[in-house]
Symmetry: D2
Subunit: 405 residues, 4 copies
């Protein structure tokens, strides 16, 4: 594949090679998991064994040391060529660990020993395979800045109740990074808080209710919390409730990048499949075929270029300086991340659609990988934050220099 995304660092190259090494096996397992809608546990055993699950743990702590967003997206992209569901599940864990590693590095540099040690403990767990993380932020019907799951203080503990959704990778997660709301200390209104909660904590119920049109093997179940106790020391206040904070915007900026890499990988597989079929059938000389192929290539070229550039810009805007990114930088990065989502989502859906057209109908059969890809790829525009119904307003306002709220 000529113009595919490439890693930018040595660690990235190792990571991407490993991801590619899993591709064929994951591809061969994809149909059954898709049909049954169950989680590809054996894929994750493979990923743990090869080191992919610890890719973003710092080398000092035993990981591969991948720290650049551009490298993350390329590896996830390669996994998705084998199986999209596995890729977005892996991305959930790997992306979160990348952020944690960055925080560990900052804490270490700042001499915050306790914090650094706590994080190092978790990161070492990632390396030995005892820790798999699911970031549990989304809720059906509520945007990221308005979580309805809430924790009420009761002496030294908080009591968490609520339902979170789209908790990708949760079937095998051991540690949940949960976002919820807590009453403000002023007594008026709410704050947003986050905490790591072990899966084994009483009151945590991971449901088995993910049953979607596509991405069926991603384990994106609901998680219900019932009177789940969290030590107040473990609850981190991360800002006001209901407000488009830098945290939510940063999520819109970098959180989307890895996911888009996965969707791109699905489209690349569909394209490869379609071209193999056309060649095998000797239909490459037909003008109708060539036209579809040219449009497919254009869509892919635009998707790859936009994603690569958005990843580089997010890297630069968010992590390019030792001082934290300014509000303007964060808004810019979020705008570009969401533009990338608009562009890549349209193009990957278009590429798979054209691959199906090129299949001449065989891709419409349930047993064809194209039928799965057609369903999988439709999830792209829904990726949070900023739904397809909200994204025009956000990008419009950010571009016009109007406050994004």
């Amino acid at each position: 594949m000529d113009f595919e995304l490439r890693p930018v660092s040595d660690a990235g190259r190792i990571f991407v090679d490993l991801c590619e090494s899993h591709q064929d096996v994951f591809s061969s397992r994809a149909a059954v998991h898709d049909r049954d809608g169950n989680f590809p546990t054996e894929n994750f055993a493979d990923l743990a064994r090869s080191g992919v699950m610890a890719a973003t743990v710092p080398a000092e702590l035993g990981g591969l040391g991948v720290s650049d967003l551009r490298d993350q997206v390329v590896g996830i992209n390669r996994l998705a060529r084998g199986d999209g569901s596995t890729a977005i599940a892996a991305n959930m864990h790997i992306g979160h660990v990348r952020g944690m590693s960055r925080t560990w590095r900052q804490a270490t540099a700042a001499g915050q020993t306790a914090r650094a040690d706590g994080l190092a403990h978790i990161l070492r767990g990632v390396v030995d395979g005892s820790v798999i993380i699911s970031a549990v932020g989304s809720e059906a019907g509520s945007p990221q800045q308005r979580p309805m799951a809430e924790a009420i203080r009761d002496g030294d503990v908080y009591r968490l109740n609520g339902r979170k959704s789209f908790a990708t990778i949760c079937p095998i997660a051991t540690l949940l990074s949960v976002v919820f709301r807590i009453p403000a200390e002023t007594g008026e209104g709410w704050r947003i808080a986050a905490s790591y909660i072990k899966r084994s904590t009483p009151g945590v119920e991971i449901q088995d209710n993910w049953d979607a049109l596509g991405m069926r093997a991603s384990g994106s179940n609901d998680i219900v919390f019932r009177d789940c106790l969290i030590s107040s020391r473990d609850v981190l206040d991360i800002g006001p409730w209901g407000v488009m904070t830098d945290r939510v915007l940063a999520l819109a900026a970098h959180g989307i990048i890895g996911l888009l890499g996965a969707f791109l990988g699905i489209a690349e597989s569909a394209r490869a499949l379609a071209l193999r079929q056309i060649t095998a059938r000797g239909r490459g000389g037909e003008s109708g075929v060539q036209h579809q192929v040219a449009e497919m290539e254009a869509a892919l070229a635009s998707a790859r270029a936009t994603l690569e550039r958005a990843a580089a810009h997010a890297n630069e805007l968010l992590y390019g300086s030792t001082s934290p990114a300014t509000r303007d930088q964060v808004v810019l990065a979020a705008k570009e991340g969401q533009l990338a989502k608009m562009i890549v989502a349209r193009h990957v859906i278009d590429v798979v659609d054209r691959a199906m057209t090129l299949s001449g109908g065989s891709g419409y059969m349930a047993a064809s990988p194209l039928a799965r890809m057609y369903r999988d790829v439709r999830a792209a525009p829904f990726m949070q934050p900023f739904s397809p119904l909200e994204i025009f307003e956000f990008v419009g306002r950010a571009s016009l220099g109007i406050a994004v709220i």
Copy 2:
């Protein structure tokens, strides 16, 4: 629904009312048939009971007497609002019977008593429910003008062998209208022939292999013929093999119309569902919602208008005169039918896609009717003749006045 398609005759109005009366029940049964991929036999029992299955049988022979293509398309459209698979299966039978009724009328007028009586016998069978017809013309991998199933003469009979595909409604069909090739009498090359073959004929094997991304309850299985004997009197030579005859073009002109009515009905249901959801959630005031809705309405308006006009033109060009349509008229009608396919297929896919966007993600759950509609509607561009890889050349040539071959 404000601007929906409307019947144009009294018989059409009765037919459309009957079709509408089945809508809710069919809708309630659709999910299970879609999941299991089995044929909705009980829907067809209902359709037989209400008279829909005999809609296009002349009133003189006990049917509803629907003869106008415009009326056929509206009724099928209404059935599809309940269940797309049922609608295309019904269309297969109803459309074929409409053509047969027309032939009966012509034969009667021409005093061809034997032919008229033969057809009347079948048409009365349609009325009493003993005859359900599947038109078995398509083959996977071969266009309509080059069937590979072949019948070789052996004394007074032909011996038919081959595999036909996409034999919609075949699970309950009692009579198959089969197209195949026979050796030309000159000894060189092939002719195309057609015959009615009873399902019970030895050597007819209706497979149970329809398992697609969508339209899963349409029973579009393969049928295999193994040394199936047909009396030579029942084999009708219908033209040269490998040539774009008027017959194939007429199929491109009127055969597509009913099918497009079905796909339009699916899109209309998706639209109605999305608007109900938006209203129930009180989100109608959001600009992102209004924009999607406006585009959805535009797509529907264009699809309806184009389909209505194509149906009217096909009616006029193909049946408007007592003398047979000229080649130019047939080419024009075929061009407009295929343009209608291009336009309607794009729009109905777009409408269901926007309905899914408006669902905010709930439509992406497997249990949502939108997920089924999203899969169903993708079949539209594949409808034969002229695949999405061939249609540009056909329409381009027809428009430029170059021979279509």
Copy 3:
């Protein structure tokens, strides 16, 4: 041209034949008027001579008696095949006269003799060529429901001041139908009023400032009113200011239809030109050409079908009953008119763009009619009311059953 729009009445057929008879001459004159941006006065002399200018005057009063919106749109369509600017200028007059004739008929039927006589006087002037009407409703920067030109009462007269824009055909207009605001009698707020004002009235200044990218020969100048006196008897209160009244919505419903006919005619000419060129160059066999042609035909098919259907529905909803249309009917008709604008505007722009592509670059030369058509056709989406920035909200709200304001 195979599937073009057709008149529906005998009067319409005569009108359309006449319009077609002017096509070649107007086409030959178009380039010079476009280059110099001046008004094609000689075209209108021809139109007066042939009877086209009196087409919508009732036969009883000496006109052709064209009363159906569908016939109006077809005639305008044919004029535009010769010259788009002439067609929209003619439409301004012909469409307004159609409405006036309808009012005359209603006044006559209701026994409102004085009103009927006044209108008959004007309509006879249309027939003898002494009356040419420009409807002066638009203002740059203010929507139809909020005119800023205002008339203040001063005894028995009103004194009108203000600037109106886009007064198409005004270079030869003798009578202006002007919309402005007047203080409400309650002393609070404004009302909207209309009056016929003779061009020769002191204080009326028709400017010569229309200098646009396209439609350069339409004479769509500004008109400035300075202390222009109008008898208070001639000032008609037509509703509250700032409100989306039935009157504005009806304009959105039927006013747009004739204009769209003109834009369609431009696209049809571009298409005909492109096909002639392709055929003359012997390039019809190229797949790249066939693909563009097929897409061009699809765009035209959708535009024609949608416009025809919208015209028929507007006719039925607005004029189908002897009682005035209900609010719901008016909103529906306005919605469909605006959907037609969305669809037709996109398609005609697309058709001319593809014709330019097919020209292989020769159409990009200033002297090519395609270059003029490319500029002309871009005016389509700007046609009032509802700008391209407002139309999604209007259509969205109308579709969702939310009040349109």
Copy 4:
């Protein structure tokens, strides 16, 4: 402007700064040159004075030393924000000089002293302003690989006759790089040859016939050669006639890049203008506005990313190694260049179109810069080689691994 293209070298940064310094003045002069269709000679006097015209001459020879295609495209992009016509005219000269400087460097390294000295002489002329180059390769109606202008040998000279088109910048060019055909020495068929021909050579007639819809100030006139004598030593055989040689493909790969930078600059100016207007009118809060802006930003983001990536890849594939690029590399680079043309051309046309929509109609007035940009940007898809009628086949074949011919 947040995510604009950026230079990659120090020389590039100087070049881009200089280009930006001309922007406002060129912008102020653009309207008059566009109206009159004459060449902006004074802009080129400014560009000579500032050093831009010698940007791609090696520093050793007195130029700025810009050698990277990525830097070239950014500078041209900035010029185009002021005036698109000036930018494509400058690109013609600057791009050609970049190639010549590269050849000089190779000749020098290879010890080809005579060739190096000849080129150095021309390059020093570029620096002192006595040499301005127009690459005269295109002909109306013939693709790059089939020039019809021909030179016939006559002793020590060739006699050149023919007409070339689209000779951008020719009104001030002093040296023409002309491509034509010569009889093959074998006596059968033709070869393609190139020669530098001084403008002052007898028989060279630069016409004043460029009169197009847009890019009216680019001086893209025809040049007619009548018995123009060229020393046979100055005629360079560059390959077989009628064949898609590496030379033509390389043109498709790098020649298009600078031009696309110009078209992008036009779109960026249109976008900036539209946003300033919207902000000045206080309409940024309208949802219809935000939607258009978001789509405009997405189109720009994709265009920028794709162009940047294509430039980087062309650089790497064509110049990344000391050995000449292989056929596969050249085909790949040509494919990506043409994909960039497909993508960027669509997006820049779309951006200017949306800017016009956002203008609310004021951009449709002839005096608005948007009206000029709307016309200018439509030239993008016509840029050679590979017309919009041929590009799908080329890209399709290249992607399918079928020989491109």
